[in-house]
């Protein structure tokens, strides 16, 4: 086996690391708890994963252009608190429209600071994370705010055998998938993520693409927030707190690279389910709840490590040669 071959095998292993991880986890949890492998539990996992998946789908757009949005949790809180405070008794469709619009505004602020004012994305969204949370806390008076009954009803309703949160998640997923795969815009997102300079030369409006992805992430954060709201009944002061972690983890575990240009929403959904599986499994085996964040962060760490190693390896494979060695 030539060194190039062994490199390719290592790459293949790296690329499938999350899948391997998933199988190992399922086996471990399954052997430790009988309930874990039941169909009901699987449905539970997917329902609980719905909101993370929705937000992570938005995050995928941002990661595809090598950006990051740390403010999704704050956005989710800020957008939903408005619905909880001022829209009791309204048709939930209006709730989604208003929350989505607020999420869009939040995302647009991020986009403006990042693309126009050229502040690094992580620091810009870290700052808006704090500001957004603070505004939401201010609005709520740091109190627990219950959501309207109509929102809660949404969480309990099933349609054609599936809970509504899953339907919303599927809708967002299909729209995102179609956008990324089947529209000019989607393909240009990939192009910008791979090489912004070449993208500009190919006549793509790079700034518009960069701006738009943060807006999409904003809308998804708000919608995901309401889906989560339909399951938790009330917005406490920690609603959406540190949500960015499982969200980024879901996307990166699903194979979307932090370095841009690689990945997609199918993987992200898989990642979200994986993350939720871990949490669910920990509950099932009665693990110490204080260990959850340790496990989740360790998983994110592994995902990022794998992504970095893979990116480094691909770069080495792609390096330009000046001699053509004849085999």
């Amino acid at each position: 086996m030539s060194p190039a071959d062994s490199r390719k095998i290592r790459l293949l292993l790296l690329q499938n690391a999350p899948l391997i991880l998933f199988l190992v986890l399922v086996l471990v949890f399954g052997s430790l708890s009988e309930r874990f492998l039941s169909p009901t539990n699987f449905m539970n996992i997917v329902t609980q994963a719905a909101h993370i998946a929705i937000i992570a789908i938005g995050m995928t757009f941002v990661l595809l252009v090598a950006g990051i949005d740390l403010s999704v949790g704050a956005n989710m809180y800020a957008s939903c608190i408005v619905v909880a405070l001022y829209m009791k008794g309204w048709n939930p469709v209006f709730g989604f429209a208003v929350a989505g619009f607020l999420g869009l505004l939040f995302g647009a602020v991020n986009a403006f600071v990042i693309t126009r004012l050229r502040v690094p994305a992580f620091i810009a969204t870290l700052a808006t994370l704090f500001v957004g949370r603070a505004i939401a806390l201010y609005l709520s008076g740091v109190k627990m705010i219950p959501f309207g009954k109509e929102i809660l009803l949404l969480g309990r309703t099933t349609w054609l055998g599936l809970p509504v949160p899953i339907w919303i998640f599927l809708l967002v997923f299909v729209i995102a998938w179609v956008t990324l795969r089947l529209t000019t815009y989607g393909r240009q997102v990939y192009a910008v993520g791979a090489d912004p300079e070449a993208a500009a030369k190919a006549g793509i409006d790079v700034r518009r693409i960069l701006f738009s992805v943060y807006c999409i992430a904003g809308v998804c954060a708000a919608i995901g927030g309401l889906v989560s709201a339909s399951q938790v009944a009330a917005a406490s002061s920690t609603f959406g707190f540190q949500k960015e972690f499982p969200v980024i983890a879901a996307a990166v575990l699903g194979g979307t690279s932090l370095f841009g240009g690689r990945g997609g929403v199918v993987g992200t959904v898989f990642g979200a389910i994986l993350i939720q599986t871990v949490e669910n499994g920990l509950v099932m085996i009665n693990a110490d709840p204080y260990v959850y964040p340790l496990v989740v962060s360790a998983i994110i760490f592994i995902a990022v490590l794998v992504d970095s190693l893979r990116t480094g390896m691909l770069e080495r494979l792609e390096r330009r040669k000046i001699r053509v060695e004849t085999a």
Binding site: I68, L70, V113, L117, R118, V119, P120, F122, I123, A124, L126, A127, T128, F130, V131, R133, A134, I135, A136, L137, Y138, G141, V142, Q242, F245, I248, L258, D288, Y290, V291, Y292, P293, L294, V296, S297, A298, I300, F301, V304, L305, S308, L309, T311, G312
Partner: protein
């Protein structure tokens, strides 16, 4: 090119001929000046801001923040970032307190000075170890520093809480710290808080390390152009690694002060100052893009943030309101930094 053309306005505070307001705007004392203006303005509404007690509070709040921010500066110089600093505060507070607690700790019965010395070392070692991990990940595996330190932040915040639940019955905090240790946070020497002396020592040491040592010169070189530094024989990876270790160790030292002041090791330490740490450095003028830093700037930045915070509290603003405004100020500082960087790119 004549030499006359080569003198530039890069240190415009020294440039003659500019209008006063522009000189001020570009001066490194701008933040200090803004602090004075802010205090003066506040004094009209809440005169308490001028009271000695207020300033004692401000000083107390500023000292540990300053120490963490100075550590952060070492990472920012090489265009990195350490978001894990706040979790280091919590984690080393818990582990350190566990080492020195008189309530069944391993050092019970040892001479007091030894307990204190071992304790401080333990705090800083925990911080340094987390920093070493961050440094290894960014320099060896080329992982983006912000995501590495974000995950370690989450991990060690969680670990701090988890360890506390393992070590204590109620899972909240570890008390019974020796009196000599508490002195570090609460004691006074010649009417000055002891912790102020520590901060001064850290500041001085950091200044010497940054501006007068080989290590400091290497940090700046890497921050300005890592490729040129590597070609000039600078051990880029090793130097960057130590920057992260320093950041962690500084956070550990700040945890000593916080813990001693509270008389307990607690996992909720520093949860809210994540942005303040980066903010203090960036507001002072340390660049997020690397290669620009000074200890004095960080002092001004930390002072400004603390004073703003106190002023808003005196105004009776809720915690949330204070957060919103402070976050905005920090965002503004980042924007100013980015614009400066852009202008430099053009020049």
């Amino acid at each position: 090119m004549t030499p006359a053309q080569t003198t530039r306005l890069d240190r415009p505070g020294l440039a003659p001929g500019l209008p006063l307001w522009r000189r001020l705007l570009l001066s490194e004392y701008l933040v200090l000046f803004l602090t004075v203006v802010y205090v003066a303005g506040m004094a009209l509404i809440v005169p308490e801001i001028l009271a000695a007690d207020t300033w004692r509070d401000i000083l107390a709040a500023m000292i540990p923040l300053l120490i963490v921010a100075i550590g952060q500066m070492f990472v920012l110089v090489v265009a990195g970032i350490d978001l894990s600093a706040t979790s280091v505060l919590a984690f080393s507070s818990v582990l350190g307190a566990a080492v020195i607690t008189m309530d069944g700790g391993p050092l019970v019965g040892m001479p007091a000075f030894l307990v204190v010395a071992v304790g401080i070392l333990a705090f800083m070692a925990v911080g340094g170890a987390v920093g070493a991990f961050n440094g290894a990940c960014t320099t060896r595996f080329n992982m983006p520093p912000f995501i590495v330190t974000l995950t370690t932040m989450m991990f060690f915040s969680g670990a701090a809480i988890w360890v506390t639940t393992l070590l204590t019955d109620d899972g909240s905090s570890i008390g019974s710290l020796p009196r000599e240790f508490v002195f570090i946070g609460q004691g006074r020497v010649f009417e000055l808080p002891f912790s102020l002396l520590i901060a001064l020592a850290v500041g001085l040491l950091a200044h010497v390390a940054l501006s007068h040592s080989l290590f400091g010169r290497w940090l700046f070189a890497i921050g300005i152009n890592p490729n040129a530094a590597a070609v000039s024989g600078v051990p880029v990876r090793r130097t960057m690694f130590w920057a992260y270790v320093i950041s962690g160790a500084c956070a550990g030292l700040a945890a000593v002060i916080y813990t001693a002041r509270l008389e307990t090791g607690t996992p909720v330490l520093g949860q809210r100052i994540l942005l303040d740490v980066v903010g203090a450095a960036v507001i002072g003028g340390v660049s997020l893009f690397g290669g620009k830093a000074k200890v004095l700037w960080v002092v001004f930045g930390a002072l400004f943030l603390t004073v703003v915070d106190k002023g808003l509290q005196l105004l009776g603003l809720s915690l949330a309101g204070v957060f919103a405004i402070k976050g905005g100020v920090i965002l503004l500082a980042a924007i100013v930094d980015a614009q400066r960087q852009r202008l430099k790119g053009r020049g």
